[in-house]
């Protein structure tokens, strides 16, 4: 009834003081919302980036996650194509799943023998078309703000690959790849044909082919089987293996792309070498990764690790349509494997990318800290404003109490005023925050968020989270009411005669 009306009029009684209070609340709302929106942009951006690269769930042979990186071949998943097919056709998983694809991790040494440079590498074999489809994942509708570059891989190019910028630099590939931010140390070394290749060339001169010639097929690629390696080259060094590879390829058409010879130990422990044609150098974001990463076609990685033996993969990547489906999909996959007596384990992207959790946790802590600071400012501002209001209206409080208003009526009156101040401030703050966020989102400001390698537009995602905006609004109003409680309680407990005597 009159409580709201009187409260509304009272907050305009000292307009300047109320304005300052409302502004303090508004600034708090703007700060919390903008920072919250920024954190959600980081969180969703990071998650999108991670999920686009590694999916939501990884299926491994049991033990791979803990021990597999020391011996990736030993923890390979057999009959992975059957498993992938069954996952794709599972009636419960089918509606949840966007991409199911194999992946194979390999470790070894990559060498550019033209430049006499070699480097240990961390490699990943993928199905390029699946990788491209994974890049389309955009659960948080960030797509219009982000643009993906070509991956540099294709299903047809089974010997092509991409390397990290650092890797390209160390292997003297920058000029040939014309990669951005990639500069080799001085001019690339003149092509130095090793003696072995000279011998091979003199024995059988290579036929020069135009660059447009089709890429060499994997079927033509010689491979060293463990047994063969131990017999033919088991005691040789890396250059001897390369020499053998060059000899084998002496009659082939040359590929214009820079070539790396990559060496890895096969499942049996013997060394194996394959050639990789580098299509592109891509920044990996983290220097350690950038200096050692090679991404290649799955079949090439399999040839390197398994030779002609049974082809396995180190994991099966499952990308879901929505992140929220992880628990359901994970539970279903666990039952799926258990029913089929498959000794597989499931890990989600948070376990595979612990940095995601760390970054979210860090920003969450900062957000909490800022929110608390803002809350304390609002609390003290409102306590001050309401206390002043009570002090100025002591006589009025005595009058209404004498007229018959109960203690709780006075309490309600001042709480209502605090609530109105909070509502006004929070509403104005929300409006201002939305305006600023829209302006920032429409602007061309870019930055490089954690786990990203390319700059992305600075984005404030206020509406994407269902709780941020209403939560801030409600929290500020509740805080305003709570802040008003002490002054209101003091007002309601005044002795009527003392209040009436007050001048």
């Amino acid at each position: 009834m009159k409580t709201l009306q009187i409260a509304f009029r009272n907050i305009f009684r000292n307009a300047r003081r109320s304005l300052m209070t409302v502004l303090a609340i508004s600034v708090s709302a703007v700060s919390v919302l903008l920072f919250g929106g920024f954190i959600f942009a980081i969180m969703y951006g990071m998650q999108t980036s991670i999920v686009q690269n590694i999916g939501h769930l990884h299926v491994y042979q049991k033990g791979y996650f803990d021990f597999g990186s020391g011996s990736p071949g030993a923890y390979g998943v057999s009959r992975y194509e059957e498993i992938i097919g069954a996952i794709k056709e599972d009636p419960q998983l089918k509606p949840l799943v966007q991409v199911v694809t194999p992946t194979l991790n390999v470790y070894g040494i990559a060498g550019n023998f033209e430049a006499e440079a070699s480097k240990t590498f961390l490699g990943q074999g993928v199905v390029p078309s699946d990788g491209e489809r994974m890049k389309n994942w955009d659960d948080y509708k960030l797509g219009e703000r982000r643009h993906h570059k070509e991956s540099g891989l294709s299903d047809a190019d089974t010997e092509g690959g991409v390397v990290g910028i650092g890797m390209a630099r160390m292997l003297q590939l920058c000029d040939k790849l014309q990669a951005e931010n990639c500069k080799c140390n001085g001019a690339e070394k003149a092509v130095k044909v090793v003696e072995a290749s000279t011998r091979a060339a003199s024995a059988s001169p290579p036929e020069i082919q135009p660059a447009e010639q089709p890429l060499p097929q994997s079927a033509t690629q010689p491979e060293l089987q463990p047994a063969q390696a131990s017999a033919d080259g088991g005691g040789e060094d890396f250059s001897t293996l390369a020499e053998l590879d060059i000899q084998a390829k002496a009659g082939e058409k040359p590929d214009p792309r820079p070539k790396l010879e990559i060496l890895a130990a096969t499942v049996g422990g013997a060394p194996n070498v394959v050639s990789l044609y580098v299509n592109k150098a891509v920044n990996q974001g983290v220097k350690e990764m950038d200096d050692s990463f090679i991404k290649m076609h799955l079949s090439l990685a399999q040839r390197l690790l398994y030779g002609r033996g049974e082809k396995k993969v180190s994991g099966i990547v499952v990308q879901l349509k929505h992140t929220r489906d992880i628990p359901v999909a994970r539970a279903r996959l666990a039952r799926f494997f258990s029913d089929r007596h498959l000794d597989l384990e499931i890990r989600d992207f948070r376990e595979l990318s612990p940095m995601y959790g760390q970054v979210i946790s860090m920003f969450g802590s900062i957000f909490t800290f800022i929110s608390i600071i803002m809350g304390v400012i609002v609390l003290f501002t409102i306590v001050n404003t309401m206390s002043m209001s009570v002090m100025e209206r002591v006589n009025e409080i005595g009058t209404v109490r004498a007229l018959g208003v109960q203690r709780r009526g006075v309490l309600r009156q001042f709480l209502m005023e605090g609530c109105l101040l909070g509502t006004l401030g929070a509403t104005i703050g929300v409006g201002a925050a939305v305006t600023v966020a829209l302006a920032i989102n429409a602007g061309a400001v870019t930055w490089i968020p954690p786990n990203n390698v390319e700059p992305v537009p600075l984005t404030i995602l206020i509406f994407e989270n269902a709780f941020l905006l209403p939560g801030t609004l409600v929290a500020l109003v509740v805080l305003a009411v709570v802040s008003s409680f002490l002054p209101a309680r003091k007002a309601s407990r005044m002795a009527i005669v003392d209040a009436l005597r007050h001048v």
């Binding site: 009834m1 009159k2 009187i6 009029r9 009272n10 009684r13 006589n395 009025e396 005595g398 009058t399 209404v400 109490r401 004498a402 007229l403 018959g404 208003v405 109960q406 203690r407 709780r408 009526g409 002795a495 009527i496 005669v497 009436l500």
Partner: protein, 240 residues
């Protein structure tokens, strides 16, 4: 509330004392007051400053409690009421007119007069009729939308009188209602209150040392040093 058994007295006090603590010192304000104030009369409490008039009115108005003694207001034993019940009792039975008018500054004249009716939950149409009628009765029908700061002292006190009477209380208490008014305005206010008391058959109790008020009184109670002086006849010119 049934006042039929009240023997015609609006207020009955028996050996009522009131003292205040000033730090650790107990200061007596009223000492053993025993009195009976008749209903539907124009009663005046007189006495010099600091004699205890306001304290007595506060006790009668149920906004303060006696230290000792027993008192009934409109037949109700006040000591038996909780704070909330006492508030309700005031809202229904007692009207206040203050020396400083004490209007709610953010409300218009109409809203100030309407306020007590909201506390008694009077229905909307009846509330509006009563409010307008009371504003007309005090001659402020044309000023109903004015805020207190847009009214003169006399007009404010008229609004206060309308506010005190609009709910038809058993008892109206006025603490020196003319003290802040010039003599001409004070006289008109006294006249208005007397007129309203007569037409509404309400018990009025004033505290005053204004001779104009005393001349209008039907019963005079004199307080001196916290004690009731023997009742005496109203001064010359009073109505009985």
């Amino acid at each position: 509330m049934d006042l039929s058994e009240n023997n015609g007295y609006a207020v009955r006090m028996t050996e009522v004392s009131k003292s205040y603590l000033m730090g650790k010192v107990e200061v007596p304000a009223l000492l053993g007051i025993t009195l009976e104030i008749p209903r539907k009369k124009f009663n005046v409490i007189i006495g010099p400053s600091g004699s205890g008039k306001t304290t007595l009115l506060n006790l009668i108005g149920c906004i303060d409690a006696p230290t000792t003694g027993r008192m009934e207001v409109c037949g109700q034993d006040i000591a038996a009421l909780t704070d909330d019940r006492r508030s309700d009792f005031r809202a229904r039975n007692i009207g206040f007119i203050f020396q400083n008018f004490n209007l709610i500054p953010v409300l218009s004249a109409y809203e100030n007069v309407e306020y007590p009716l909201l506390l008694t939950k009077t229905p909307g149409r009846e509330r509006k009729d009563l409010t307008l009628r009371m504003l007309e009765a005090v001659g402020l029908g044309a000023h109903k939308h004015h805020r207190p700061n847009e009214l003169s002292g006399g007009q404010r006190q008229r609004v206060a009188i309308a506010r005190a009477l609009v709910k038809g209380p058993e008892l109206v208490l006025a603490d020196e209602p003319t003290a802040n008014l010039d003599s001409k305005t004070g006289l008109s206010i006294i006249g208005l209150m007397h007129e309203m008391q007569t037409s509404n058959h309400t018990t009025f109790i004033f505290s005053s040392h204004d001779r104009q008020v005393m001349e209008q009184a039907e019963a005079v109670f004199e307080i001196r040093d916290g004690r009731l002086v023997e009742p005496h006849e109203p001064p010359r010119g009073s109505q009985s």
